[in-house]
């Protein structure tokens, strides 16, 4: 009698633990999602404004402005526009009141100094290669001597 009683208790305990343990494991998986991880955003790298287009010969050409970045605020009325495009291209840069001309080198790099008007300047940059293919892009530069 005692043996059977003891056996019943032991078996019951083992079965009970097994079922309970399995239930808990399933419950934890379904009801305990990981909290969202909030990370600090990294510093935004300086953007390069670029334009990629294709000509009639289906070859890819590009016009990238490496400096200045779009929407830059400067305190001087002259600035060098630098970038890269197809090699040996004519570079034309237009502001609202003037235009400036340069040329890209063998590697396609160019630097063209321009003069800015006071306030916002919508600067249009065009590159024309030897075949007459034209690429255009545009950036905003603000010239102001006000203390920011």
């Amino acid at each position: 009698m005692i043996k059977e009683l003891f056996l019943a208790i032991v078996l019951g305990g083992i079965l009970g633990l097994g079922v309970t343990g399995g239930y808990l494991t399933l419950k934890q998986k379904n009801q305990n999602p990981k909290p969202p991880i909030i990370t600090q955003p990294t510093t935004i790298p300086t953007p390069t404004i670029s334009l990629i287009t294709t000509n009639n010969n289906s070859s890819t050409k590009n016009l990238n402005i490496t400096y200045p970045e779009d929407n830059l605020l400067v305190s001087k009325d002259t600035i060098d526009i630098t970038g890269n495009t197809t090699s040996n291209s004519q570079i034309i840069i237009n502001t609202a009141t003037d235009s400036f001309i340069g040329q890209s080198g063998q590697e396609g790099k160019f630097t063209v100094p321009i003069k800015l008007d006071a306030g916002l300047n919508i600067v249009k940059i065009s590159s024309i290669d030897k075949d007459g293919n034209q690429l255009d892009t545009e950036i905003n530069i603000t010239y102001s001597t006000a203390k920011i």
Binding site: G16, A96, S99, I128
Partner: protein
């Protein structure tokens, strides 16, 4: 006997079950910990002065579409930008006089200057009322071949490379600069010649429809017969 065994079995099972439930670590503690250690500092950070992510000052231009307590929302060619202002922000009206925030309304074009923050809004230091027409750049560059020259006026026709079926009428005057790629001056008689390939910087003529004024012409090469 069997009945006793069954009763003991079920008794053992149900004793374990509620204890196991009570001993559940509970997600409530974890949620509270998350709120205290992660969310609260984040919310508090947003209510203080925004931290600039670059020491390079920036400017945003556009038309005001929304004004909140301390945020101005702009739109420019469909792009939406936000300007955060505070008691130190300087406001300037169209006549370049100091103004106040209340004088700026939805629809006003403004030039906002300041520093870019982490959420890509601008920490506005100076807000200047601006008219769109004052900043519009109507100059454009076109390259092509001269296909026709007027004998009576200073107008010639340019067939652009990008669309030979849509020629431009270009007008010159004494102020038109005519140069070669090396920036050397070229006489107009050597430049405006049928078949010549040029780059022209043009803007719409306000007096003549479908005609553009050429402020600068860059002569590219020797005369070539016009392509038909």
């Amino acid at each position: 006997m069997k009945l006793i065994l069954v009763i003991i079995f079920f008794f053992t099972f149900f004793v374990k079950y509620p204890l196991a439930v009570e001993s559940d670590p509970g997600t409530e503690d974890k949620v509270e910990e998350f709120v205290t250690n992660v969310l609260k500092p984040k919310v508090q950070a947003d209510t203080v002065t925004p931290t600039p992510i670059s020491d390079k000052p920036k400017s945003f231009f556009g038309s005001i579409t929304q004004i909140d307590e301390n945020i101005i929302t702009l739109t420019n060619y469909g792009k939406i930008q936000r300007i955060k202002i505070n008691e130190k922000t300087v406001f300037v009206d169209l006549k370049r006089n100091k103004s106040i925030f209340k004088n700026f309304k939805v629809g006003q074009d403004i030039l906002a200057m300041g520093y870019l923050t982490e959420d890509q809004s601008l920490d506005g230091k100076r807000i200047v009322a601006t008219e769109l027409k004052a900043v519009t750049n109507n100059n454009q560059t076109v390259t092509g071949q001269i296909v026709d020259i007027s004998k009576e006026t200073s107008i010639f026709t340019l067939s652009p490379n990008y669309n030979k079926n849509n020629p431009f009428q270009l007008k010159t005057d004494s102020k038109t600069k005519i140069i070669d790629p090396n920036n050397k001056s070229v006489p107009i008689n050597n430049a405006i010649v049928n078949g010549k390939k040029i780059i022209a910087i043009i803007n719409p003529d306000p007096k003549m429809a479908k005609t553009f004024y050429a402020s600068k012409i860059i002569v590219l090469e020797a005369t070539v017969k016009p392509e038909n």
